[in-house]
């Protein structure tokens, strides 16, 4: 197997799932977003989004914080430095692969 193809086989499996890749792309673009914003942007159901966020949080890619703003409860999600690095690496590998075929 050529090395360029092999590099695709090594991609981060946590991010390499359509729903999680979408969540990661959104969180990569913003500083932080709440659960409702992510739900509207991804089109996922609450249960699905919650499950995928939990996986990203377990991997240390996403930090979830429950907070209050003007007495209104907010569940804020933001990408950690490790998540940012992993997503950049994932993008790079995917780009390399697409350019070779």
């Amino acid at each position: 197997m050529p090395s360029d193809f092999r590099s695709l086989a090594d991609v981060d499996r946590i991010i390499h799932e359509p729903a999680r890749a979408t969540i990661a792309a959104i969180l990569y673009a913003v500083e932080s977003a709440d659960f409702l914003y992510l739900q509207r942007e991804t089109g996922l159901t609450k249960g699905n989004l919650s499950a995928h966020l939990s996986k990203l949080e377990e991997a240390g890619y996403v930090a979830i914080e429950k907070t209050y703003r003007l007495k209104i409860p907010l569940t804020l999600c933001r990408m950690t430095d490790a998540g940012r690095k992993a997503f950049e690496d994932y993008r790079q590998r995917l780009k390399q692969f697409v350019e070779t075929i």
Partner: protein, 211 residues
């Protein structure tokens, strides 16, 4: 990977999607126009402006949290980095240089003239910035504000031509009218956009992240 770029651009457009940003800009401009037009002293107008900016910012945040975020979700943007940030800095620097250079040019030809020329110059420069923003953010209703600003600047220009003695007074009056007109336009479009946003986006029943 262009999807990521469009996602970033779409997130930035959020600020204009609900009309609250226009309401905030409109409130500050309208208040500024009234403060300039009715204040007996420029210092008092300056103090009034600070109070208006603080008051409008306070209202803006509450409007966002009560009406917008329960419908669209809460998001904060990242500070831009890389080439796009550099382009923004260069554009800002060029605009600043043009305004300061133009102001100094007129100042050297008479202080009153300089005050009088601020509004036409400001109208044209702000108008061009709004036109560029409308295209950048694909928020095309800003074109109307941009054109209004440019047209107001051009219309006001003949008023300050050859008015050496009264140019300072005329300059402040024109600035007041300019702020008032543009502020009113922003308030109307912001109000209509917010009404349409609220109607089209009902509040979500439960938004918490159950883990």
């Amino acid at each position: 990977m262009n999807d990521l770029e469009s996602l970033i651009s779409r997130t930035q457009r959020q600020h204009f999607r609900d009309g609250t940003t226009e309401l905030m800009i409109g409130g500050i401009l309208l208040g500024g126009g009234l403060a300039l037009g009715f204040s007996p002293q420029p210092l008092f107008a300056g103090f009034t402006m600070i109070v208006i900016i603080l008051g409008v910012s306070w209202l803006y945040e509450r409007l966002k949290f009560r009406l917008v975020y329960p419908r669209s979700g809460f998001v904060t943007l990242r500070d831009q980095t890389g080439p796009r940030r550099l382009v923004q800095i260069l554009i800002g620097f060029a605009l600043g240089l043009a305004i300061v250079g133009g102001f100094l040019y007129f100042l050297l030809n008479g202080a009153n003239n300089a005050i009088a020329w601020i509004t036409p110059m400001m109208g044209i420069v702000i108008g061009l910035v709004l036109l560029a923003q409308s295209l950048w953010l694909k928020t095309y209703r800003l074109i109307v504000h941009g054109l209004l600003s440019v047209v107001t600047g051009i219309i006001f220009s003949p008023f300050v031509l050859g008015e050496q003695q009264t140019a300072g007074y005329i300059g402040l009056s024109l600035m007041s009218v300019y702020f008032f007109t543009l502020g009113l336009a922003f308030l109307v479009s912001g109000g209509l956009t917010l009404r349409s946003f609220v109607r089209q986006n009902p509040v979500q029943a439960e938004t918490s992240h159950a883990q």
